[in-house]
């Protein structure tokens, strides 16, 4: 089986476990199963494949440690792990993402799932990583993004994604265009930038790789 088939099998197992627990535990969170489905839906897969395709050329030897901020159940880390053996920290403040993410990424010893506010995690160790990935900048306060860019090592590469999906309640930091997003980050060097229409057609996703 390829990694994607294993991912789907693991996701189905996670959902199966939630359903079974819900038969006996009134506090079992059934929405969590829907959240797992959404985390591997066609939009998520497409945006991460797009990320990997364009990020891999920058995965050179001096990248020793990677941080995926707001890593959810670890999909970005899992897809990165197909191309690198360096340690990947996937950080998310939702405590359940660690337990479920361990199931979805099992077999990959270089992926560490961490329960912590990703911004706070990074601010306490801003020089640790040579690559920072954040595919959900639309969820992050601009003040935190500004600080991340300002505090990172000069040579650390960032790969950030955002979008113009304004109508979602939790999207607090969307942009109207790729250039608006790139300009908001005030990078010293832009290595790559591109936009992509989501498979659903509902929004455009923006990506920038830079320093």
């Amino acid at each position: 089986m390829n990694y994607k088939e294993v991912l789907y099998e693991n996701a189905l197992q996670a959902i199966d476990e939630i359903y079974k627990r819900s038969q006996y535990d009134p506090d079992e969170d059934l929405y969590r199963s829907f959240d797992i489905i959404n985390s591997v839906n066609k939009n998520q897969i497409a945006s991460k494949e797009w990320l990997i395709e364009n990020l891999v050329p920058f995965l050179h030897d001096d990248i020793k440690k990677v941080c995926v901020m707001g890593g959810w159940y670890g999909l970005s880390a899992l897809m990165l792990a197909q191309h690198t053996n360096v340690p990947i920290d996937s950080v998310d403040y939702d405590p359940e993402t660690k337990r479920i993410g361990k199931l979805l990424t099992r077999g990959y010893d270089n992926i560490q799932l961490i329960t912590e506010d990703a911004a706070d995690w990074f601010f306490h160790k801003p020089k640790r990583y040579q690559l920072i990935v954040n595919t959900s900048c639309e969820h992050i306060d601009q003040i935190d993004l500004d600080l991340m860019v300002a505090m990172k090592r000069e040579d650390t590469i960032i790969c950030f994604q955002s979008n113009n999906y304004h109508s979602i309640q939790s999207h607090i930091n969307t942009h109207n265009s790729l250039d608006e997003f790139v300009d908001s980050l005030k990078l010293t060097e832009v290595l790559f930038k591109e936009e992509m229409k989501a498979p659903s057609g509902q929004y455009d996703r923006y990506m920038v790789i830079g320093k």
Binding site: D94, Q169, I172
Partner: protein, 197 residues
């Protein structure tokens, strides 16, 4: 009597005139209360404005939860109104301060609610509380806010399904225009339906 009467205006769904009009209606019954608008845009709002927290930035109704934060800069008894309300008479006989108090959504009493739809039979269009005493609600929300905003379509569902302790006002405080109660009430509420000022 309330020390503070608070409105929340975020985005462009409501105009400053909605705030000013509601203030005018309520001032007849609460002349000694202080009036505040928690907003991202104070332009043309005629009462004192409290700027929305810079971090976390929140959208739509989720900003209502910031009122419960210990960092919300008010003291004393608070009375909150959604902006789609029409005050017709003095509501004071219904208004009480007993922990967190919200509306009973009488119009949802017989509605089928699948457990995993998270629908609820309460409504937070009117809320009373004492400033600083409900900070646990804000803390709970902040502990996993993105997940809660995905899971719940609004703060009413968050309050009920995250087991926040609350009381309800007696029926008869509001009449929902979309689902009339057929008894005289001091307040009409439009539940987001467009209405003319």
């Amino acid at each position: 009597m309330p020390d503070n009467i608070i409105f929340v205006k975020h985005g462009d769904k409501y105009d400053p005139e909605h705030v000013n009009r509601l203030r005018d209606q309520l001032r007849e019954y609460y002349p000694y209360a202080q009036y505040f608008c928690y907003t991202d845009n104070p332009l043309n709002v005629e009462i004192e404005c409290i700027p929305c927290f810079e971090k976390p930035a929140l959208k739509f109704w989720w900003n209502k939860l910031a009122m419960f934060s210990k960092d919300f800069p008010l003291e004393g008894k608070c009375l909150y109104f959604d902006l789609d309300m029409d005050i017709k008479e003095d509501p004071s006989s219904f208004i009480k301060w007993n922990g967190l108090t919200i509306l009973n959504a009488y119009w949802k009493k017989d509605m089928y609610m699948a457990p995993h739809a998270y629908d609820v039979s309460i409504n937070s269009s009117i809320i009373t509380w004492v400033a600083g005493e409900q900070d646990h609600i804000w803390e709970k929300f902040m502990s996993n806010r993105d997940y809660y905003m995905r899971k719940y379509a609004g703060i009413d569902r968050f309050l009920v399904h995250e087991k926040i302790k609350f009381n309800t006002f007696e029926n008869g405080l509001v009449n929902s225009i979309a689902n009339p109660i057929n008894i005289p009430t001091p307040i009409d509420m439009y539940n987001g339906i467009s209405y003319e000022l």
